[in-house]
Amino acid sequence: MSEMSMIQAIHSALDVMLGRDPNVLIFGEDVGYFGGVFRATEGLQAKHGPTRCFDTPLSEGGIVATAIGMGAYGLRPVVEIQFADYILPAYDQLVSEAARLRYRSGGEFWAPITVRAPYGGGIFGGQTHSASPEALFTHVAGLKTVIPATPYDAKGLLISAIEDDDPVIFLEPKRIYNGPFDGRHDQPARPWTGQEGSEVPEDYYKVALGSAAIRRQGRAVSVLAYGTMVHVALRAAEESGIDAEVIDLRSLVPLDIDTITASVNKTGRCVIVHEATRYSGFGAELSALVQERCFYRLEAPITRVTGWDTPYPHAFEWDYFPGPQRVAEGLRRALEA
């Protein structure tokens, strides 16, 4: 065990897997010699060799296509898309190829690839460094979508993703790479040190895909969140004094539907939080599932607290980003009703 930031935990997962499995290799833009713009692969090329971790042409479609072909051969490629905003040139490869390869070939070929991408806002990244595209993947049968909220989970989930025989989109909330940001942007940034989830084993371990974590037990209202929003939600519960149960989904596909329904059946109220635009966001699916399964226990409308239905607006970072006050307001709405 040692204390790690999320980026260190991700680095450790990659390092461990390169060491354990010669079929694991890493590539992407600037991930080789330089170690990635967020340093997730720092030193891995020097340590494991130039064919284990290398730079690619600036071509997301090419990166994912190459990974799928390698996966079909029998390797386990882990690729980095520099920002989730830039995953769209690879979208056809992910949807039409990776997601369907096993199904359409009657099980003859499959794509055991992991696509890592820093995602989300809170860093004044404007329209092209802030995207939260998770709903574009959750709609696609055959893709798994995973989002960690702590260093411990990041490492354990990433190792699970790499060893998974299905294609996994692994979205990393870059705002919490270095500390558990809770949305209070006017306060000094906190490091991961001393925070829950920052004790990380140095070696191999897994956190299973498809199990949520209850980050805060509560009886008044269930909050469904993932990534950075878990921390914002915890903060909102604290600030508002509302006895919220905060559930960190960890993976959106597969989804831990049992933990969700158990919690909402208990509290009778539900608030869903995400950074992505609201309309057709993953919150819509969560809302639909909850009302389908917990209808008779719901005492108030399910509330969504999300990014607005606009492109990510650079100068309005803190008006767009769903901060603890907006989440707290959502909690109050869910309780008042």
């Binding site: 290799l25 042409p57 071509s59 296509a65 799928i68 390797l75 390869l101 359409r104 070929f109």
Partner: protein, 411 residues
């Protein structure tokens, strides 16, 4: 400068439309045997003439001439001939089956059979082909069971794709034939990745991938070329230029601006332009590129110049957009006739043998079709419903299980 005529938008148009005389004057062909054959380790910079030439081996009289004439055992040539003939019979039968409502869709490869049959025999076991939908002759040359093809085309209970995939979008891993899909071009980069994996593992296998002339316009064509070039991937990347992309002639893909083989130059890759109706030329070019790849000298782009004799698919009537006698005017002949003539010239084949083989293959196809029909055609005896929910993931998730139950009890 402002005194010149205004701009105008150029819209390419083919030389002949329905009712007009077929016109292939845009194609200029060197004689068989004329194209030079560089050593396989030649640097790209010394081969920049190749994309503008045309590699041809079979002369009018059936002889194999020039530096590209490969050494192929007559037995291999007979296998190739058999594969092409089998493909043609099979295509005809399945096309007819579509008209009888036994399947939803079919596409023929008539006239292009050599571009897949010859590579099939030139590649080694363990190599992987990333095909287009017009390459069943690749499987035919490797004795892939006709029953598998037929059962997939009829989507019956024995369909190896378990009813999930369109007819003719085959997958045959053990035969070195990668899973097809309906989107054009999106597997081109997989071939590069697969080849890179082989190099990464210090293996000796290579990959060979195909797209059509039309498909070269997709971004994924370029991405594959870039990766192949940068990492010296042991892959052969091929453009089957059959002059048409559904109703669009090859000029709409840029074929009037330069050759498709010339695309290689921009990536520092050798670009070979090959008579695609010449079995020996296709075989020789494949072997050249395969040797170069196995020698760690990286990728080659090959353009196979051929002609799509049939309509695009069962949904298409090509007489709506091209002269109906255009196929007959195609100057590079028929790959089956040309290989047959060569074998006869070699003294390794005869008209009588040819006829006997044709009868046998015809019967083989008939029997396979009948057996498939007995098992079931589209909508009759499909695979069990549960197959719909398998293989979405390696292990079904709760949605797959719930929905399977919901579906199985559905009215």
């Amino acid at each position: 400068m402002r005194n010149q005529p205004p701009l105008s938008l150029h819209i390419p148009a083919p030389h002949a439309r329905p009712g007009e005389k077929p016109d292939f004057s845009y194609l200029t062909f060197p004689e068989p045997g004329a194209a030079r054959r560089p050593h396989i380790l030649t640097p790209e910079a010394e081969m920049r003439d190749m994309p503008y030439s045309l590699i041809r081996v079979l002369a009018e009289d059936g002889r194999a001439i020039g530096p590209w004439a490969p050494h192929v055992a007559p037995e291999t040539l007979r296998r190739g001939l058999r594969a092409m003939m089998l493909t043609r019979f099979f295509d005809d039968r399945m096309f007819a089956a579509h008209h009888q409502g036994k399947t939803s869709f079919y596409m023929k490869s008539t006239g292009e059979e050599a571009t897949a049959a010859a590579p099939s025999l030139a590649l080694l076991p363990g190599d992987m082909c990333f095909p287009t939908y017009r390459m069943v002759s690749f499987l035919m040359a490797r004795d892939y069971p006709l029953a598998n093809l037929v059962n997939q085309i009829f989507s019956n209970a024995a369909d190896p794709m378990r009813g999930r995939q369109l007819p003719l979008l085959y997958s045959a891993r053990d035969y070195g034939f990668y899973s097809l899909a309906g989107n054009v071009g999106s597997r081109f980069g997989h071939a590069v990745g697969w080849a890179m994996a082989s190099a990464y593992k210090n293996d000796d296998k290579i990959a060979m991938a195909f797209v059509g002339d039309g498909t070269t316009a997709e971004g994924n064509f370029h991405e594959a070329m870039v990766f192949a070039s940068v990492y010296h991937a042991p892959v052969i990347l091929c453009v089957t230029n059959n002059q048409w992309a559904i109703s669009s002639y090859q000029g709409i893909a840029g074929g009037e601006e330069t050759t498709f083989a010339a695309r290689g130059i921009g990536y520092g890759l050798p670009g070979l332009r090959v008579d695609g109706n010449d079995f020996l030329a296709v075989y020789a070019a494949t072997q050249w590129a395969a040797e170069r790849a196995r020698a760690n000298h990286g990728a080659t782009l090959i353009e196979f110049v051929t002609y799509r004799v049939a309509g695009h698919s069962t949904n298409d009537d090509p007489s709506r957009y091209r002269p109906s006698d255009e196929a007959r005017a195609w100057p590079l002949g028929d790959p089956i006739e040309r290989l047959k003539a060569h074998l006869i010239a070699l003294g390794e084949w005869s008209e009588a043998q040819h006829e006997a083989l044709a009868r046998a293959l015809h019967e083989e196809v008939r029997a396979a079709a009948k057996a498939g029909e007995a098992l079931g055609t589209l909508g009759q005896n499909p695979p069990p419903k549960r197959e719909m929910f398998e293989h979405v993931f390696k292990t079904p998730d709760w949605r797959n299980l719930e929905q399977r139950r919901e579906c199985e009890v559905a009215p």
